[in-house]
Amino acid sequence: MRAKSSLASMGVDRMERQPLIRAEDVSFQYKGDLGEKVIPALNQIRLDIYPGEYVAIIGRNGSGKSTLSKHFNGILQPSRGDVWVDGWNTKEKSRLQEIRKKVGMVFQNPDNQIIATTVEDDVAFGLENIQVPPEEMDERIDAALRLAGLSSMRRRAPYHLSEGQKQRLAIAGVIAMRPACLVLDEATSRLDTYGRRELLRVIRRLNEGGMAIVTVTHHMSEAAEADRVIVLDEGSIVLQGPPREVFQKQAFLQERQLDVPAASRIAGMVHERCPSFRPDLIDSDEVAGEVRRLIGEGEK
């Protein structure tokens, strides 16, 4: 079983802390194209995200995941209710720049976020925008590229990067601003297996360094890495908890177009035939570990 020093697992501690992001009865409606039909996207969402937490948001297409994540740094403002970031209301236009420094976002397509002709200039661009003094700039760029695993690519043209490296460059550009929270909206969906694995490693590293992570994903095995999984359906939160608990509810998730990681399904099936096998496993490492544990005990 992997040991995680997560805030979510320390419920008491969490209660005492101020949330980094608080969504208070947030409803949101997109205006229909013809004006007469209003399509509700979010329905009275109440949600707190704490400093250093790793949260995954899952839900079927159209459930409101992206819409919700765009509220976390004021790209969208609620139609009703409020979103507070570190105590600031995202409706306060004069605070938006501060809010966006606190909560950075990375989207599905990194090409929309990359503008400069070299990797380091791209990271520098954002820093110039927020008037970081030149003497501090180099250090920040260094740190961001190191965390994103791109140190050796500093003088390369973004054009020559792979899709996965570009996505990590988009992340470097955001983390150079030293946000308290990084929001990823399906950031791995265009990556190959290798690119995804590298990106997840970067995200874990950032989280271990204390950055809160909110990731919107369709990959259940990615959601399994988080401290807390939030399930959205028709604009409402219908389930949340640690992945080990959420992925026990296979039927509930399947009714909502979702699934559980293959490892969880296998663990459930094995448990039915061999009750001593734990059913609440969430990745392949745990499944193999459980087999070793049971066989090891048998040999004693």
């Binding site: 997109y30 229909g32 194209d33 013809l34 399509i39 839900g59 079927r60 297409n61 159209g62 459930s63 599905q108 397509n109 054009y159 792979s162 899709e163 996965g164 399906e186 969906s189 265009r190 990556l191 190959d192 297996t193 290798y194 690119g195 995804r196 694995r197 369709h218 259940m220 095995s221 399947q254 177009q257 979702l258 699934d259 990681p261 293959a262 490892a263 399904r265 296998i266 099936m269 094995v270 035939r273 061999c274 001593s276 096998f277 990745d283 392949s284 490492d285 499944v287 193999a288 087999v291 070793r292 049971l294 066989i295 048998g298 040999e299």
Partner: protein, 297 residues
């Protein structure tokens, strides 16, 4: 499997931005054959040339060097009927947004058939049929504004737009990227039906090895613009060295089997279905360890 090749690619090369400092050779010599009625997956990490290759299938890119023959038509031949070819080969890109420009769903899907000059009733039937195949209820969805669709719905609209032209060959670039798990599974199920019952030939690019395992009869592996491997999903996923060497990764279920193998248990990696893995684990638990090292004692 019919033995008739419907796509035949021989020694294909392609260089982007020739004669500029940005010159990049995307294909360095690809030879692949797809037989009529087959479902073939093309895998390989980003930049291996997959998208460049499939854009040759309907003439979006013409061969610079080498040969591409699609349903008997040689794409190097200037007399080849490109309009006919594009109806015959439906291409669904990775970014559905880039294919959608009409403001209503029904109009979007009807665009191709209209351009083909089909009678209005045929267009309506084609749109209705295509929407059903793509999983979009005709009455509920035809008058929806495309701007209000979710990513998954847009994917279905793009697919329906291509199916409305009744292609013989369907080419998809990452068909389930961005879809929720069930919509992804539904789409794969639909593609499987189209392949098995409508005998549509399917070629798809995928990074998602679970879907490759589910859908493909055969896989081609591309690396640096060359095909470096070919075989059934079971053969390829049993080839651990190749998976590692070309950074292909492993499906989660195969990964469990490899971990058990590394721990010394004897498992069959070619049996990587979810139920198969569960039953292999059960038999290890029920019949004792049967580790390889015991077998050799």
């Amino acid at each position: 499997m019919a033995a008739e090749p419907i796509i035949d690619v021989q020694h294909l090369e392609h260089t982007y931005m020739k004669g500029t400092p940005f010159v990049h050779q995307a294909l360095t010599g690809v030879s692949i054959t797809v037989y009529s009625g087959e479902c073939v997956a093309i895998i390989g990490h980003t930049g291996s040339g997959k998208s460049t290759l499939v854009q040759h299938f309907n003439g979006l890119i013409l061969p610079q060097k080498g040969k591409v023959i699609v349903d008997g038509a040689d794409l190097s031949d200037k007399k080849t009927d490109m309009k006919g070819l594009r109806q015959k080969v439906g291409l669904v890109f990775q970014d559905p947004e880039s294919q959608i420009f009409e403001s209503l769903v029904g109009d979007e899907i009807a665009y191709g058939p209209f351009k083909m000059g089909w009678p209005i009733k045929d267009v309506r039937d084609a749109v209705k049929g295509a929407m059903e195949m793509a999983g979009l209820p005709f009455d509920a969805m035809k008058d929806r504004p495309t701007a209000a669709l979710s990513g998954g719905q847009k994917r279905k609209v793009a697919l329906a737009g291509v199916l409305a032209l009744k292609p013989k060959i369907l080419v998809l670039d990452e068909p389930t990227a961005g879809l929720d798990p069930r919509s992804g599974m539904e789409l794969l199920g639909r593609l499987k039906t189209l392949n098995e019952q409508e005998h549509l030939t399917i070629v798809f690019i995928s990074h998602h090895l679970e879907e490759v395992a589910y859908l493909a009869d055969r896989i081609y592996v591309l690396d640096h613009g060359k095909n470096i491997g070919e075989g059934s999903p079971a053969t390829l996923f049993s080839n651990k060295k190749m998976l590692e060497k070309y950074r292909i990764g492993t499906p989660e279920t195969v990964d469990i089997l490899y971990r058990l193998q590394d721990a010394g248990f004897s498992v069959n990696v070619a049996h990587y279905g979810i139920a198969e893995v569960a039953s292999q684990i059960c038999s290890i638990l029920e019949h004792g360890p049967r580790r390889d090292r015991y077998d050799t004692v």
